[in-house]
Amino acid sequence: MEQTIRLLLASLPDGILLGFVYGLAAMGLTLIWGVMNVINLSHGPIIALGMFSTFFVYTRLGINPYVGIIPIAVVGLLLGILIYAVAVHRVINAPHLSSLLATFSVNMIIIGIGTAALTTSPYNVDFSAGSIQIGSVTLLGTRLIAALVTIIFTSGLYFFLYRTRPGKYIRAVANNRSAAELMGVPSTRILALSFGLGTMLAAVSGGLIATFFPFSILAGGGYEIKSFVIGVLGGLGNPIGALFGGLILGILEGVIPAFMETSWVPVIEFALFVLILLVRPSGLFGAKK
């Protein structure tokens, strides 16, 4: 019993720190769903592109990965706007299947080009930010900083959505696009901006994950699936709920192995996913209204 408690204490901080980054990735997905009802299947490859961006920024340009997050965010935003303009805008009012296929095509294009250019071999960012030892608990510097960056981005997103004019426009479009248009909100530009923001968050989360996990161009798929689970946990279309959903998932990943084999983690995660869909389809923190 004492051993289990020690194990829990050791694993919990890890899970919480990781949960922040999962939450950031899911926030991007859920923001896009919330504003434009598009399930973005290019989310995973964008996370992978964020990972490779950190790799190149750090290993080729010698820039600190956390400084590199700023250009990654900017490029992510612009890439998202481009994807929206090229692949999503024309099908935004079509049935969901059309936008699903459109973003799936983007997914395949990125993975295809990425595989040709970067292969599917695992890459590592050999960066260390040290660690803090508290008793038997080891807190890795990279995870601590990643959690901090996530908090900064989440606060920034919250401020942007609730305190700025474009942010209010985004919320207006998310609530009722037709009404917002009647009030003079430039909905096309706002939708493009929202898609850009969602992509930016995905790229930033990828950039942060690369500092502690290896990756390949296919690595984003796993985080995309986690983002769906988190989205459902936190409430689809609720970006702040996604952060809490991420924390719950992170804690589960940290705590479950204390009681059973690690390979049971995905089983329990997806059982929870189904359970939430059945019992509380709007998520623990409520879906967009």
């Binding site: 194990l7 050791a10 890890d14 599917t120 890795l140 204390a258």
Partner: protein
Amino acid sequence: MKRSLVRIFTVLMLLGLVITACAPQAATEEAMEQPAATEAAQPAATDEAMPAPVEKTVVIGFTSSLTGSQEVSSKRQVNGLNLWMQQVNDAGGIQLSDGTVVKFEAVTYDDESNKERVQELYTRIITEDNADFLISPYSSGLTAAATIVAEQNGKIMLTAGAAEDDAYKTGNTSLFQLYTPGSLYLISTVDMLKTLDPSAKVAIVHENDKFSTAVIDGLKPYLDQQGFEVVLEEGYASDTTDFGPVINKLVESGATVLLGGGHYPDGSTFARQLYERKVGLNFISLLVAPADSKFPELGDAALGIATSSQWELAATHTEAEAAALGKEWYGPTGTDFAAAYEAMTGDKPTYHVAGGYMTGLVLQKAIENADSVDPDAVRAALEAMDIFTFYGGVQFDTTPEAHGLQISHKMVVAQWQKNDAGELQRVVIWPADVATADPLYPIPAP
């Protein structure tokens, strides 16, 4: 009227295109038939002179993981096979007693490290590409999928990178294994531990896949037999990237030695995270990953990590060894093989490269011994084979219970250590008679 004309014109154009497309094929078929005619005519025309050699191209079919989780090791295996094929073809092929010269050609596809793709592609390789012999894909999981197709079609398949034992124990008669079986993978490591630290507390943490599970199934009874205490046994999913919870369990278990791992992606990640978290174990042995030349990219995290290796250049097998064992020596020396590989790729060969090369070399020897490319004759030659090469012994179990299982090849234990210049290098630490360095035990604290 105008529309009908356009339609007729379009149909004519399409017809023309179809005829044009068919024409070269017909020509190619003719061209392909021509040598046969020439072959038949030649002996009569040159009755007095030396008969011109008849060239027979043997098609070797296989899939490789150009993408996906098995990419790193799979590409090395294929590089080894390609080197053998290039060498044998450049040397003029294999000369049979009836004057036939056998040359080789490869038919290969990317299986994307995906079992479903493997079955689909091996079916295609057999039925459409008419491969004469098959080589396995890389990894036990993919090979298990491919063996079903090979066996159904009665095609001989030489397997490398497929150590799991079970595939050879299900009544298959067309498989021939080059690797030491998975169940014996860590036996040498345990023997070494017995001499280094008989009181070591062992943690077993492994990938949940066919190969790693087979290795662990063979390891556990042997550990028990040798009197080691196993304080933790834990499996993890193949796509695990966060080993934090497992490492916390490892620390809590009080283990001093870790045995386990799986393949390259998970093994390299595990090693890195063990180092980051300063776990401080006395000894770590992981499967597959540390045997790859990419592993030192981990930097100091690679120091002290050991692996079971099918072949190491530093402990390559020799003709003298073969003579001492009373076995027939065959093929190039390890040094020549390594030099040729380095000249071809600029990289040093790993055991995955050697395994790929050996599939070709063993097929070559079987064709030579059979003096034929007839599958039944080649199968009989493989069953009778008992040779020694730079890679070690090659002999197959011929009993119905484990047909094709490798019974002659032995493994070594290799470990990443630093040389005098502070560079990481993989040295052989066990068995003692072939070791090139003493084991680094305990591993220096991170």
